[in-house]
């Protein structure tokens, strides 16, 4: 599939030595408990299981999620360090083996 646009909207901002990362992912996050009204069958689970945040190639956060996280999930975390122009990467993997990642430059004092 042509990947023109990442499923992750990503922002990283440095202030007073702490970088805050905000990520908004586009994903249905099906719990497996919703019913398809036409067939009466449960809609199969489909949710992001793991989100990994990396700074300079080092993992700063590993997030595990269930289907209890809202559709088009939002994640925010922060870490000490980070400087203007350095890269932050966020990647997700869902329970069906789907995945995506995105990178963004930290915005901070120059």
């Amino acid at each position: 599939m042509a990947k023109a646009k990442s499923s992750i909207k990503l922002r990283a901002k440095e202030k007073n030595g702490v970088t805050t990362v905000k990520a908004l992912m586009s994903h249905p996050m099906e719990t497996g408990q919703r019913k398809n009204k036409k067939t009466g069958e449960n809609i199969p689970e489909h949710f992001i299981q793991e989100v990994v945040g990396e700074y300079n190639g080092k993992v700063v956060i590993t997030t595990s999620w269930s289907g209890g996280v809202s559709k088009d999930p939002y994640l925010s975390f922060s870490f000490k360090g980070g400087a203007n122009g350095e890269m932050v990467k966020v990647s997700w993997t869902d329970n069906k083996g789907g995945s995506d990642s995105n990178e963004v430059k930290i915005k901070g004092k120059k």
């Binding site: 408990q33 919703r34 199969p44 299981q49 700063v60 997030t63 269930s66 996280v69 975390f77």
Partner: protein
């Protein structure tokens, strides 16, 4: 005459294509479970079981040093913003549980050394209940909770 047949053929193949696409979308892929993903914790049906599966202990301590930011009344249970932060030193993991959900364990964050103990996400809540934050630091487990009233559930169809 030829043209008409061509039209019919195109219509027919387009319809067939749609059926194939629908069948493909309905296929259930085999579940690939990641090693890091704590299956037992996320499948637990009670808060106590989930805490035990996540932390390996049921000895938890309530702490005033954990802050849960969540609305008192959530109009839409499908999207409840929750932030958990803590001033406890050496936090290695933060988990968020929704006590009244069928599977209470919602999210778990494993933090690196330089990561600040402050995470935010948005969760689904089926009905009014406590949002529980679980903070692991060293070999201790701290908890805090906050009630969120839900006016429209977020786990229905």
């Amino acid at each position: 005459m030829i043209d008409v047949k061509r039209r019919v053929f195109l219509k027919g193949s387009a319809a067939a294509g749609a059926v194939v696409a629908a069948a493909g979308a309905g296929l259930i892929a085999p579940q690939a479970v990641l090693a890091e993903w704590n299956e037992a914790a996320f499948r637990s049906k009670t808060v106590a079981d989930a805490i035990k599966a996540q932390t390996g202990t049921d000895a938890t301590e309530e702490s005033a040093d954990i802050k849960i930011k969540a609305p008192e009344i959530a109009e839409n249970g499908a999207v409840v913003p929750v932030s958990v932060s803590s001033s406890i030193a050496g936090v290695t993991a933060i988990s968020i549980l929704a006590a009244s959900n069928p599977s209470p364990m919602v999210a778990s964050f494993a933090l690196g050394e330089s990561t600040v103990a402050d995470v935010s996400t948005r969760i689904k809540m089926g009905k009014t209940g406590d949002v529980i934050a679980l903070v692991q630091a060293g070999d201790k487990v701290y908890t805090a909770k906050k009630e969120v009233k839900v006016t429209i559930g977020g786990c229905g169809g």
